[in-house]
């Protein structure tokens, strides 16, 4: 294992493992968030309370933060090295026929997602952790009313809805390349599996993009009708 992480392939291995971790996290996140669409909010509040108190989730939370930091750090390091590998740029480049736009702009897409992530943490995570939260009681003691925090923001500010929908689309674009690419880097790929992974990756990216867009869209429409 000596020096594996100082080699290019080793650093890419770190990108793919942290990426896989984030891919799984997004699915869990979307599953919990989909409960927001059950409109009395009880299921979402109970799920949010579970996520905030379950010891396993408590251990995974800091790991998730580390996963994000590692993914961003190594993406920056590798991008910098890649820029140095071509000091004089081509005058005319035509890559439209040989690769997808998303695959060529993963770092830019990642930077946009990072800006969104900062706003997202300020909107919800920070308030949940350090703010004054209203509470509800479903018979088993008081728990945070996370539903009113989320629905309140999405109903009150229409442009937050649009911002979150845009964030979901950028995330989806990032994932169209990210998913199969991480398996390629892990070495779990061949001529047969490549097409399978590309299809699964595209379906996954659409689920994430549409799933995370539907929630603010739901509140945007229901907010307007109230």
């Amino acid at each position: 294992m000596s020096n594996i992480f100082s080699a290019s392939i080793g650093q890419k291995l770190i990108m793919s493992i942290s990426g896989l971790f984030l891919v799984i996290f997004l699915l869990v996140h979307l599953t919990v968030n989909s409960l927001l669409l059950a409109n009395d909010g009880m299921m979402f509040n109970v799920a949010a309370h579970f996520m905030a108190t379950n010891p396993v989730i408590r251990i995974i939370e800091p790991l998730l933060a580390i996963g994000f930091i590692i993914h961003i750090f190594y993406a920056s390091l590798l991008t910098l090295m890649n820029m140095r590998a071509r000091p004089v740029k081509y005058y005319k480049v035509n890559q439209k026929e040989s690769s997808t736009w998303a695959s060529r702009n993963m770092y830019i897409l990642g930077a946009v997602i990072l800006i969104f992530l900062v706003i997202h943490i300020a909107n919800f995570y920070w308030k949940l952790k350090f703010g004054e939260m209203p509470t509800v009681n479903y018979g088993n003691g008081k728990i945070d009313d996370t539903y009113s925090l989320v629905s309140g923001l999405f109903i009150r500010w229409w442009w937050f809805d649009l911002l979150y929908m845009a964030g979901a689309v950028f995330l989806g674009l990032h994932l169209t390349h990210a998913f199969w690419s991480l398996f390629q880097t892990l070495g779990w790929n061949n001529d047969i599996w490549r097409h399978r992974l590309e299809i699964i990756g595209t379906v996954y990216a659409y689920i994430i993009a549409i799933g995370f867009s539907v929630i603010p869209l739901y509140f945007l429409i229901s907010g307007q009708s109230n």
Partner: protein, 247 residues
Amino acid sequence: MDFTLKIWRQENARSKGKFESYNITGISSDTSFLEMLDILNEQLVAEERETITFDHDCREGICGMCSLFINGRPHGPDDDVTTCQLHMRKFKNNDTIYIEPWRSAAFPVIRDLMVDRNAFDKILQAGGFTSVGTGGVPDGNAILVPRDDAEKAMDAAACIGCGACVAACKNGSAMLFVSAKVSHLALLPQGKAEASRRVKSMVAKMDELGFGNCTNTGACEVECPKNISISNIARMNREYYCAKLKD
């Protein structure tokens, strides 16, 4: 056919290059791209001007010597051919054609369109061989090689080392070349014995020479004149992790 050529001129690796414009007329559509450059050079000689330097050798698409980044693509607009097999009928009359050298920190420009691809030789010297002579042609069934493996090894061995993968890659990565060389040996019994040592030293050399990192855009395999698949890159990654785990 008539063309306007914007050709990169550069004195040597240290000097700063620039495009120069040339008009060329009366070119037959069946002229190959390199023949068209020969005709231009003949004209330049007649005018007592400096000729354009470019790499070429066999001119039948098998030696890997010709290069050229033509209108934003390595080996130009035709699929699965090298520049020497590209013909002017693939362009339109009166087209403006931009011709640049491969651009990579690891491939310094020697002059004009000619680049130094010794970096590839150094990677091969780091491990792209079998250390012992495998003797003459063995008896057909003495060493059993599954047909699939033999086919994959042959496909990987089709790499002519032209460097189009590095030129096409937005990161200037040599992963397709190195993975083709690693794969064609690792898949066959004669190459398996040294497979772990080979992949480690070839990857280390590739990193040392300043090639970029693979981000799996797949541009290399599309532009490769020999259709080398990026499945070889996945195989090399597997080989590399397995080799490193044993350390």
